[in-house]
């Protein structure tokens, strides 16, 4: 993957909550088209790291360079750049006061300034892709967890992002709904989307990732291709963690 273009370049990223150092000088590069999984014990800083990539979490220091622009720079309009970084949350965070269709069309109409018909046409296409077209006029309270998460994914896709961040997208789902969400993510992988995913689904991470990062105590302790990281880990903490989850 090293021959393709850099999309996100993180330099010396630190994040502190009071005295607690959650991220310690992380430097990492994500390339276009890459699928990167982040695994590790809870409290290791995985989600915090992901949230710093679109500045939902404000780095204490360091740079988050997205397509050549440092998002941590206070003089830039981070909202504009966020439009190109989709994010999917553990708890879905769909908008309960809007219909499924409105959930998707809102941001494109407001921020990409496309017309309502155009936005709706696009939303219908996206809903078709994830099998939710028949729900387009429902409110999210009528959807199952899996359906809400699929909606959240296409809502992000409607902004035509360059990268998708997934923050434990299946952790809040009932077991029988995990597959439908993972299948949607898999379809994005096939389509060539750049993806960074924090996950506890080890089998999934192994299947789709180009690279797996293992985080512990606010650092990327070890990384590599799934085959190497899962089956031939070098670091003791990685071995310890994998022995518990595999």
């Amino acid at each position: 993957m090293s021959e393709s273009k850099e999309l996100i370049h993180v330099v010396d990223l630190c994040k502190q909550f009071g005295e607690l150092k959650v991220l310690k000088n992380i430097t990492e590069t994500i390339h276009e088209g890459e699928v990167v999984s982040i695994i590790g014990p809870s409290g290791s800083g995985k989600s915090t790291f992901l949230r710093c990539l679109n500045l939902l979490g404000k780095p204490t220091s360091g740079k988050v360079i997205f397509k050549g622009v440092d998002l941590a720079d206070k003089n830039i309009d981070v909202d504009k750049h966020r439009q190109k970084i989709g994010m999917v949350f553990q708890l879905f965070n769909v908008f309960p006061h809007m219909t499924v269709l409105e959930n998707i069309t809102l941001a494109p109409m407001l921020e990409r300034k496309i017309s309502k018909t155009q936005a709706e046409d696009q939303a219908v296409e996206l809903l078709k892709r994830v099998g939710l077209l028949d729900k387009k006029d429902e409110y999210p309270t009528r959807l199952s967890g899996g359906q809400k998460q699929r909606l959240a994914i296409v809502r992000a896709l409607a902004m035509e992002p360059d990268v998708m961040l997934f923050d434990e997208p299946t952790s809040a789902l009932d077991p029988e709904m995990v597959k439908e969400v993972l299948d949607v993510i898999k379809s994005l992988v096939v389509a060539g989307m750049t993806i960074i995913i924090v996950t506890h689904e080890m089998a999934f991470a192994r299947e789709v990732s180009d690279r797996v990062l293992f985080m512990a105590d606010g650092e990327i302790v070890e990384q590599g291709s799934p085959d190497v990281l899962f089956f031939d880990p070098k670091n003791d903490r990685t071995k310890d963690f994998l022995s518990k989850v595999l």
């Binding site: 679109n54 504009k80 965070n93 908008f95 921020e111 809502r155 902004m159």
Partner: protein, 220 residues
């Protein structure tokens, strides 16, 4: 008793109706102005600007921590002294009622906005929505559903609290009670009449608010 009430009403109905008009006027002005001022105070609290937040916090603390009657006296005594234009007693009392009520409105609005799930704002920001659009399209429409029921209660309280203006002989229902009582020495029948009128007003108001709330809830 009933006879006395009927007699009293037929002789002094105009006094009570004038009082009712006074009460409605006071209540309407207080409700509208207090909502506007309270909204501004709430936004100051949530602005993230330390100075504005502190000021709004102090404003709410003082107004909720002292009796409203004390506040009415205070405004009634001090406002005429510092105002460049002459203020009537009524004007001073109206201002005091508005200021008092605005503190409660501000807290209701702040609580309603803060009760919106944090994830909603994060989702909107992650889509690249500006702060303004996030508030307008995501946070506010959800906050309003928290705010309205509590605000309705405040409105009913405001209507009832206008009765305190009678201490300063501002034209309103409790003043009507006092006028009739001092002319006839019939206290209890006059109180009952005024009480019934208050009850009718507050009942209509709360039914109206219920209706409005239900309509808001419907599209979800």
């Amino acid at each position: 008793m009933i006879d006395t009430i009927i007699k009293l009403w037929s002789k002094y109905d105009y006094v009570y109706i004038d009082g009712l008009l006074g009460t409605l006027w006071l209540a309407a002005v207080t409700v509208m102005a207090a909502t506007a001022v309270g909204t501004i105070i709430a936004l100051m609290r949530l602005s993230g600007v330390r100075l504005l937040d502190r000021f709004a916090g102090l404003y709410i603390c003082v107004l909720r921590g002292t009796p409203i009657l004390l506040q009415l006296y205070f405004f009634w005594l001090t406002l005429p002294k510092i105002s460049p234009i002459t203020l009537s007693d009524t004007a001073c009392i109206v201002i005091a009622l508005i200021v008092n009520a605005s503190a409660y409105v501000a807290e209701v609005i702040r609580a309603g906005i803060q009760a919106v799930d944090k994830g909603q704002k994060e989702a909107a920001k992650s889509l690249g929505l500006s702060d303004r659009n996030t508030f307008r399209y995501i946070v506010f429409p959800q906050a309003i559903k928290n705010i309205l029921p509590a605000l309705g209660n405040e409105y009913i309280t405001m209507v009832k609290q206008t009765s305190l203006a009678s201490v300063f002989f501002v034209q309103e229902l409790m003043t009507s009670y006092r006028t009739v009582q001092s002319a006839t020495f019939l206290a209890i029948p006059s109180l009952v009449i005024v009480g019934v009128i208050y009850l009718v007003v507050t009942t209509i108001l709360s039914k109206g608010l219920d209706l409005f709330e239900r309509r808001l809830q419907r599209n979800e």
